[in-house]
């Protein structure tokens, strides 16, 4: 609950409200989109509490401030509601919760809490926060006539404490309470059934027949949740009877119709098997959010324990070095690890002997440094955030940090370079530079090493074809440096390969598979394709090809001359000319195009 209430600030609502007010005062529309203005939210709140008033009046300003301050408490209530679902605590547990909750917050307050849905400040304020704020301070042994009078942080801490006590009391009274051990046991039972190796040999024809039957039987139930249903998992294609309604946390667009359902009638949410659900939950737990893609590494051939150990060490070392960059434990937080920047990576990787690269060299090659403007803007933001956090009081900063900075500029530089050990300063630095681990490592044995990553390996406007080429490129780099088979798959894709197929997996995009001519790039072709995709990335940038499909366009050019002409034309419009480096790149492309014929 403490984490949840930190996820929302106390200033966002009032900031937007003030902005809308200013816009209106200057004769503009308060909101540009279809969304509700904050003034309308407050009006709706007034309606719910039987009040009325004028827009942007002092009274409304006051309520905007109140609602803004109440945001973390709203989230705490939301979390409590979700944690006390009858699915977890049963009917008796629900009754107990209602009793305990009503005892503290007053009769009918539990029903009011249940009437709220997603975060809606008007309803949440009226049905949860107001009730809490009106309680006398005496009830919780605090010196305040009403809870509302307490300082916001103190008030939120008190609410979290009260709700935690209720939850603990209710959970203690449950006989079959949900526990981590029970969940772990359930997960293990599911995963053991899902083992690929060792497993019984199956007759493929028989399996196909069974799957066809299950597909037929499951069709009427896809998009519905009933007790008699038979399902087939949209992720792993296994038949099952008891599963879970998929949320967008588990699968992309779970509510959209698929051919797995019948062509007519209502379609709700697709159901996934519990094995897939647990697998995705574990990935989310590791990353702190839903993984976007998964880098899967297998040994390229049968290997002994020694070589296996070496592969694990390589993966661990790669992760450790990447982690340092991701969390900014360096002097330069502008250095970022971003696997989608294939042109930047290619310019550093192509001249290297990948077989001899150490993990720190590899991580250096996978990182880029933000541009000058971004660096300056980040530094300004950091300075402002530090000044805000310490109320512009440099003296108290020096006292708390044990430093003697004569100016905010020097203090900011020290924080930037990671020379200040104060946890608050470090947290501000992390927030400004978004220094969070975006990749994790799951590595128990060398048979399958997973790197779930929280962002997709694609640039903003990339087509699926371009993105598939970038994934193949990164897979090739990792495959060659780690001497392994590497596949980069979408989080909801099934991993149905076992290693040994080649160095890098080619994503199932028909244009890319046509171009490469295989599902896996074998070791003999790996360096050729690495050069081809890498150099094409660099030239797509140089020729300012379309952001959507430029990389692919370069790779299917009839000759290097076509790309050269394009670069020249673009440069001419910028009054710059071709240089020898471009020709060197084009020579590599020419070779690659010739070899690919």
């Amino acid at each position: 609950m403490k984490l949840q209430q930190k996820k929302i600030g106390r200033k966002s609502f009032i900031t937007i409200y003030e902005r809308e007010k200013k816009k209106l005062a200057s004769g503009k529309k308060a909101t540009s989109g279809r969304g509700k203005s904050k003034a309308k939210v407050i009006e709706d709140y007034w309606k719910l509490t039987g009040r009325s008033g004028n827009k942007y009046s002092p009274e409304m300003d006051c309520d905007a401030e109140r609602i803004s301050n109440a945001q973390p408490e709203m989230v705490a209530f939301k979390f409590f509601k979700a944690a006390m679902k009858s699915d977890f605590i049963g009917v008796d547990g629900s009754k107990n919760t209602q009793k305990e909750y009503d005892t503290i917050f007053g009769s009918g307050s539990w029903k009011a809490l249940l009437s709220t849905s997603t975060l809606m400040p008007d309803k949440d304020m009226a049905n949860t926060v107001d009730i809490f704020w009106k309680l006398p301070g005496q009830k919780f042994n605090v010196e305040a006539k009403q809870i509302e009078e307490l300082a916001p942080e103190k008030r939120t801490a008190l609410l979290v404490d009260v709700l935690t006590k209720i939850a603990n009391k209710v959970y203690e009274a449950i006989s079959n309470k949900p526990s981590r051990i029970a969940l772990a046991r359930e997960m293990a039972a599911r995963f053991i059934q899902d083992l690929v190796h060792p497993a019984l040999q199956v007759d493929i024809a028989e399996l196909a027949k069974t799957q066809m039957e299950c597909y037929y039987l499951s069709k009427p139930f896809a998009g519905k949740q009933t007790k008699k249903a038979r399902y087939i998992c949209p992720i792993c294609n296994s038949p099952f009877e008891e599963g879970s309604k998929a949320s967008s946390d588990l699968i992309d667009k779970p509510e959209s119709h698929t051919n797995r359902g019948i062509s007519h009638g209502q379609f709700g949410y697709i159901t996934v098997c519990n094995t897939c659900k647990y697998e995705r939950i574990l990935r989310q737990l590791l990353l702190g959010k839903r993984a976007s893609e998964l880098i899967v590494i297998f040994p390229r051939m049968n290997i002994g324990p020694g070589t296996g150990e070496l592969l694990v060490r390589k993966a661990q070392s790669l992760y450790d070095k990447s982690y340092i960059v991701m969390v900014g434990d360096t002097e330069d937080p502008d250095k970022r690890l971003w696997l989608a920047f294939t042109s930047v990576i290619a310019s550093q990787v192509l001249d290297q002997d990948l077989y001899k690269l150490e993990s720190d060299q590899l991580v250096n090659m996978l990182t880029y440094r933000s541009g000058k403007e971004t660096r300056q803007s980040n530094e300004r933001k950091l300075k402002k955030a530090l000044m805000d956090a310490y109320d512009n009081d440099l003296e108290s900063v020096n006292e708390e940090w044990g430093t003697d900075f004569p100016s905010w500029g020097e203090a900011t530089t020290a924080v930037y370079s990671n020379k200040v050990v104060d946890p608050i300063a470090k947290e501000i630095r992390s927030e400004i530079y978004k220094l969070y681990p975006q990749m994790r490592l799951v590595c128990q044995t060398p048979h399958m090493i997973l790197f779930p990553i929280s962002y997709p390996i694609k640039l903003e406007k990339d087509s699926e074809t371009n993105a598939a080429l970038r994934r193949t490129f990164i897979a090739l780099i990792l495959g060659l440096t780690m001497d392994a088979s590497v596949a980069i798959v979408h989080d909801s894709d099934q991993i149905d390969f076992q290693g040994g197929e080649g160095v890098a997996f080619v994503p199932p995009i028909s244009a890319v598979r046509d171009l490469i001519g295989a599902n896996w790039i074998p070791l003999s072709d790996a360096e050729r394709w690495l050069k081809f995709i890498g150099i094409s990335s660099i030239l797509a940038n140089a020729g300012q090809y379309s952001e959507r499909s430029g990389l692919f366009e370069v790779m299917i050019s009839p000759t290097a001359g076509h790309v050269l002409r394009r670069i020249e034309q673009k440069r001419a419009s910028e009054n710059s000319s071709l240089n020898f480096r471009d020709i060197a790149h084009l020579r590599v492309l020419e070779d690659a195009l010739r070899n690919n014929r």
Partner: protein, 213 residues
């Protein structure tokens, strides 16, 4: 209703004639080695009469002899050619045109544009790359000349009255000694470029403007 008639047309394999395309390109490239290009940097100028040859070959109205004559006429009307074309260049031109028309005769109409496109852009790349590589080689020669004279980048910067940071990293940023650079330079820089140009002349080549490549 009569039975439908199925006609199976084999798809022309462009990659199957890649070696012939390369051969034609080589001939034209050898010819262009002796063609004096005009002062602009355009594709039109760089390709000389070959651009016109490819354009006319598309029409299918020419035989090899007449198209070669047409190209020669363009060549000789270039004032820089001074009414001269070497025997080797003439042979290369004729050989290229012969092979080109032969290939086009065999190829289906739908593939002809693609073949010409490959020759056109492929040749353009070869010529452009040759030019830039020549410039780079001269620049590297100039760097060696300066290294011998000044030894360190700092001394060079002092002599040329420029920032020492301009020539760090082992003289890597020294530019090509073009006429433009010569006319915009201070006295010592001018002297060095002139001295280098004289040496180059003695070694059998002259400095050409970057735009002429």
């Amino acid at each position: 209703m009569r039975n439908p008639i199925f006609v199976r047309v084999d798809r022309f394999d462009l990659d199957g004639v890649a070696s012939e395309i390369d051969g034609i390109r080589d001939c034209f490239d050898r010819y262009l080695d002796s063609y004096p290009i005009k002062s602009s940097r355009s594709k039109y100028s760089l390709m000389g009469p070959i651009g016109k040859v490819l354009q006319e070959a598309r029409t299918g109205k020419w035989d090899a002899e007449s198209l070669t004559g047409y190209a020669l006429n363009i060549h000789l009307s270039n004032p820089k050619a001074k009414g001269y074309i070497s025997q080797e260049a003439r042979d290369a031109l004729r050989g290229g045109i012969n092979q080109l028309l032969e290939l086009l005769k065999r190829a289906p109409a739908t593939a002809q544009d693609k073949i010409l496109d490959r020759i056109d852009y492929g040749l353009y790349f070869t010529r452009r790359a040759k030019g830039l590589e020549w410039i780079e080689n001269v620049r590297l020669d100039f760097i060696i000349f300066l290294k011998n004279k000044y030894v360190t980048p700092e001394k060079l910067a002092t002599a040329w009255d420029e920032k020492s940071s301009s020539y760090t990293n082992n003289f890597a940023k020294v530019p090509y000694p073009s006429k433009k650079l010569f006319s915009n330079s201070n006295s010592q820089k001018k002297i060095d470029i002139a001295e280098f140009a004289k040496q180059a002349e003695l070694r059998g080549y002259e400095l050409i403007e970057e735009e002429e490549i």
